[in-house]
């Protein structure tokens, strides 16, 4: 859980046997949103944030460069990203210490990294993920505080949590993402006419009054229900903000081009060719959503932690392969599993390519974005918690340095998350619990 130095309320409670420090209710933070300047003035270019996850890791000895700093040598498994090496920094050696808790395969590392708390199972997620904390801080002033997507189409394929087990519900197909972004409720920021209908005005005023109920209800419920109500009223507030934006003349978004039509309806599939295609369409829509000021934060899951990717005609998923496939004696690695990991990373290369291709004034969208890419393990066969792969791309509007390889053997992986928060200008004093708690970010990459 983040410690907000200035506004933290030091109230400790025992909840379900675990010590938890309850920070301010989500809604109170949102009420003091500092993300509005942009929508009002239209002058500043906003800094955006994204996460990108692929399942089942990589092979550390083919991934990690020997040298650190700016002149790190290209390695076989990073080659797929070589064209963008000046647009990202690489982090190696980081680990997820579990303080004696069992390593729950495909759960422990990914959630330790995201929330700073090592869960005992996937129902044990008390704290918000760092991407959600970033979204709270910088995600306001646009229609959607964050966009969650799963290219593999599983409705539980998500690693973003608002806390108290409230894991984000992802969009599963390009069409559903398109409809949410550019369907009813979308207003072209560059449209010549601006005239909010009376229904928007009224619906906004009706929703504004919803908060009046909150205090009375809050007093009558126990701790767990209180967190739930808080999340519910936060969602009401998000909707209210969406309507409020529709009442204001939008700031022009010069780089915004509204997609000309909806993508075809598709059924989610774990077939890697279908996933790759869905991912491309979702990335393209995300880029437009960022340029058209519909959102500033996104979470993309290319494949879930126990990767469900498969090739047509094969009985084995990527995850199954990581366990069953023999290490090829000549190659020194598992060729099929590695093929899936590499195909996944091609997806990340595509994301960087599209962000870099989108111009915003003198800079590119990638320059004004920070994308945190990671997996749930390093060597998947053993569900390793060491050498967790982390890549952070984009320059966060000049606050993040790219092109570097940073290596800290055995340091908690939460340090990379805190660094991302600081690069996004989020005032977090510390992040994580137990051995995952960190209070220092990696200064070498912060400008």
């Amino acid at each position: 859980m983040t410690r907000d130095i200035t506004r933290r309320r030091l109230l400790r409670s025992t909840f379900k046997g675990a010590a938890v420090s309850l920070s301010m209710p989500l809604l109170d933070i949102l009420l003091n949103d500092n993300g509005k300047a942009f929508a009002d003035t239209g002058l500043e270019i906003p800094v955006r944030f994204g996460t990108w996850h692929w399942g089942c890791g990589m092979n550390p000895d083919r991934w990690v460069p020997e040298s650190t700093g700016a002149n790190w040598e290209m390695t076989p498994e990073l080659e797929v990203l070589a064209a963008y090496r000046q647009h990202f920094s690489l982090f190696s050696g980081y680990t997820a210490p579990l303080d004696g808790r069992a390593n729950e395969p495909h759960i422990s590392a990914v959630w330790s990294l995201r929330t700073g708390y090592a869960p005992t199972n996937k129902e044990d997620l008390p704290d918000p993920s760092f991407d959600a904390l970033i979204a709270r801080a910088v995600g306001g002033g646009v229609r959607f505080r964050s966009l969650d997507m799963a290219a593999t189409g599983g409705h539980t394929d998500s690693y973003s949590s608002a806390g108290a087990g409230a894991v984000a519900v992802p969009e599963l197909t390009p069409l559903s993402l398109y409809t949410r972004l550019f369907g009813p409720g979308f207003r072209d920021p560059n449209s010549a006419t601006f005239e909010p209908g009376p229904d928007i005005i009224l619906r906004h005023s009706v929703l504004s009054a919803f908060g009046d109920e909150r205090a009375a209800l809050m007093r009558q419920v126990g701790a767990a229900d209180r967190q739930k109500l808080d999340a519910y009223f936060t969602s009401v507030r998000e909707m209210e903000n969406q309507l409020a934006l529709q009442l204001k003349e939008p700031a022009p978004a010069l780089a915004c081009t509204v997609p000309s039509g909806a993508p075809a309806e598709s059924r989610p599939s774990t077939d890697i060719e279908v996933v790759t295609e869905s991912h491309k369409l979702m990335v393209d829509l995300t880029v437009m959503a960022l340029l058209c000021h519909q959102t500033k934060v996104f979470n993309m899951v290319f494949s879930p932690s126990a990767s469900t990717l498969r090739k047509p005609g094969s009985a084995d998923t990527h995850h199954i392969l990581t366990h069953q496939e023999a290490v090829d004696a000549n190659l020194g690695y598992q060729p099929e599993s590695t093929w899936f990991a590499q195909k996944s990373l091609e997806g990340f290369a595509y994301l960087m390519k599209q962000l870099a291709a989108a111009k915003e004034g003198d800079s590119t969208l990638l320059d004004n974005t920070l994308v945190y890419a990671h997996s749930d393990t390093s060597f998947a066969k053993m569900h390793s918690l060491d050498e967790l792969p982390v890549i952070i791309a984009g320059r966060a509007g000049g606050r993040f340095k790219t092109g570097l390889h940073i290596r800290e053997e055995g340091a908690p992986v939460t340090k990379t998350a805190l660094t991302a928060m600081h690069a996004m200008n989020v005032r977090a004093g510390s992040f994580g619990k137990g051995s995952l708690e960190v209070s220092q970010s990696i200064s070498d990459v912060l400008a």
């Binding site: 046997g17 309850l22 809050m218 969602s235 009985a315 496939e325």
Partner: protein, 559 residues
């Protein structure tokens, strides 16, 4: 476990002053003293988000099943084995609220449109182009009582009448205002969540009358209370043994009970997973999304047939030869289905290995890999879903190299591969819980196709459960049909499903007692449900945990 319980917070030193203050705060807040008389002494002990099915059923019950809801609703989360528990822990996400918003507006537009308003509004405005508080009030007090599953208090009623008034003035249309206000009501917490309130009675909580009514109707019908049940809550008759008996028996006798039974087993057996199931089409060309959804329907029909039509012991679902085929299923079973309705009742021949719900494609397909059967996944599902036992996750450094290596002729069958895998001591401990229950089902591939061999080798179908050995799916079904754990699991799940939480100590004692009560007589679903719905413990929720900062807030309220 150190927890703050409301019990402590309410001990002798504080309660009256605390309540008096709370009452005052809320009364001042709402500006209406009368509104608080009925609810001020209650605490909210749980908030249970409506499932997608409950949401749709509620709208159909109140406004008719021709009201369309095309919006996707928030997915139902599963916790501790049940969606009924998951929805008691879930909130509403930002994207979920957008979906509720879209659904609410779509519903409200239809309810107030020309085709429906006459029937559904129940009154006419003096002037359709102006506000009409009287008619709006009539509508919201009636519809609101069903939507909130309780009567609205005066402040709530005034709020919705007020929104309708404002909308009518702005839009110069009474129905437009009504629609605006109804869609707002459909987005409020008391509609989206089943708010369970309870009264502290010195030694524990007791659900209030309305919450009791909702528990009964969602347990038996998976739907909100109807007029008669709400009236029984309001006139106090649910507090009497006779009144409670009468209502429970009325609900169990209703045709709507069947929907409730389907909803329960859909939850217990995780059948909704079939709606998102994927299989590799090159390996299983017969598989389709339609086959998966028909398989789900087949299992539900079989359960309803066995437990309601034939009124048998619950465990007969594991052996019944009565089944139902759609066209897609007929193809899988090589039994042509010609009836125009698409569904035909069939009786399998004695000894047919496909008897019982575990040998049906729903179970077999859902608990397999996309391109391969899995005795381990099937065994695990059986332990968890049917026997209420949990199987630990595999250790992180496990080596699966042999399990799926089908190219080695020494490991042609899953049993051979698992036997080799289980020479590892760290694997065998858990696999012996799962594999002996899944291996007897190996005569069915990952898409439920029948087979005698795997990779050319004959399949050994022997298995065991609780030291009972048997052969094949039929042997597994027959063993489960006598198994105590399967029956006890049903009672556990029914109870948790109704209560929205895993059993605590007092509940477990009650569950054990119910098991003993029926052990000799057979486990008849309807009788079990009736016994649970009649037990006092079922309406006595445990104290809720409150956090230290909440105590601080409450103390702040008092100061």
């Amino acid at each position: 476990m150190a927890t703050f319980k409301i019990l402590e917070c309410k001990s002798a030193t504080t309660p009256r002053a605390w309540f008096a203050y709370l009452l005052l705060v809320v009364v001042v807040f709402l500006g209406n003293q009368a509104a608080m008389a009925s609810t001020g002494h209650d605490d909210i002990v749980s908030l249970r988000r409506l499932t997608q099915e409950q949401y749709r059923q509620t709208i159909a019950d109140i406004f008719g099943d021709d009201i369309e809801i095309s919006a996707r609703l928030e997915p139902d989360p599963r916790r501790e084995g049940l969606i009924a528990i998951g929805t008691a822990q879930a909130s509403v996400s930002a994207s979920g609220f957008e979906q509720y918003d879209a659904a609410a507006r779509q519903i409200a537009e239809q309810v107030t449109d020309l085709a429906h308003r006459e029937l559904l509004i129940g009154c006419k405005p003096v002037n359709t182009q102006a506000a009409d508080d009287r008619c709006a009030r009539t509508f919201f007090s009636r519809a609101g009582r069903f939507l909130y599953r309780r009567a609205l208090n005066e402040a709530e009623l005034e709020r919705f009448v007020g929104i309708a008034r404002k909308g009518a003035k702005v839009g110069k249309d009474f129905y437009w205002g009504l629609s605006l206000s109804l869609s707002a009501m459909l987005e409020t917490a008391p509609f989206l969540f089943r708010v369970e309130r309870a009264t502290w009675q010195g030694d524990g909580y007791r659900l209030d009358d309305y919450s009791t009514a909702s528990r009964i109707s969602f347990l038996i019908w998976n739907a909100p209370p109807d007029e008669a049940l709400l009236s029984a809550a309001e006139n106090g008759s649910l507090r009497t043994d006779n009144g409670l008996h009468r209502e429970i028996d009325r609900l169990l006798a209703s045709p709507r009970y069947e929907k409730g039974v389907r909803a329960f087993f859909n939850d217990m057996l995780a059948l909704d997973d079939l709606l998102a199931l994927q299989k590799d089409p090159t390996i299983y060309p017969r598989y389709s999304a339609k086959l998966a959804s028909d398989a789900r329907e087949q299992t539900l029909r079989t359960i309803v047939d066995t437990l309601l039509r034939r009124d048998q012991d619950y465990r007969a679902v594991f052996t019944t030869r009565h089944t139902f085929f759609s066209r897609a299923l007929g193809f899988l079973y090589s039994e042509p289905v010609t009836s125009p309705s698409g569904w035909e009742a069939r009786e399998l021949a004695a000894g047919d290995p496909r008897a019982g719900i575990l040998a049906q494609p729903a179970f077999l397909m859902a608990h397999s890999h996309p391109g391969r059967s899995s005795p381990t996944l099937r065994g695990k599902a059986l332990r968890e879903l049917i026997l209420c036992q949990s199987v630990p996750a595999p250790p992180p450094n496990v080596d699966f190299a042999l399990v799926q290596n089908v190219s080695d002729p020494n490991f042609a069958t899953a049993r051979q591969r698992l036997t080799a895998h289980n020479t590892e001591p760290m694997c065998v401990a858990c696999h012996k819980l799962m594999d002996p229950l899944g291996l007897p089902l190996e005569s069915f591939d990952g898409a439920a196709g029948m087979r005698m061999t795997e990779n050319g080798a004959e399949i050994d179908l022997s298995g065991s459960l609780h030291n009972q050995s048997f052969i094949g799916a039929a042997g597994l079904g027959a063993t489960l049909a006598k198994d105590g754990a399967a029956a006890s699991c049903l009672i556990n799940r029914l109870y948790s499903y109704g209560a929205g939480r895993a059993p605590e100590q007092q509940d477990s004692e009650r569950i054990d007692a119910i098991y003993e009560q029926y052990a000799e007589r057979g486990f008849n679903l309807t009788k079990l449900l009736r016994t649970i719905a009649l037990s006092r413990e079922f309406y006595s929720p445990p104290p809720v945990e409150i956090s230290a900062d909440q105590v601080a807030i409450q103390q702040g309220d008092k100061s």
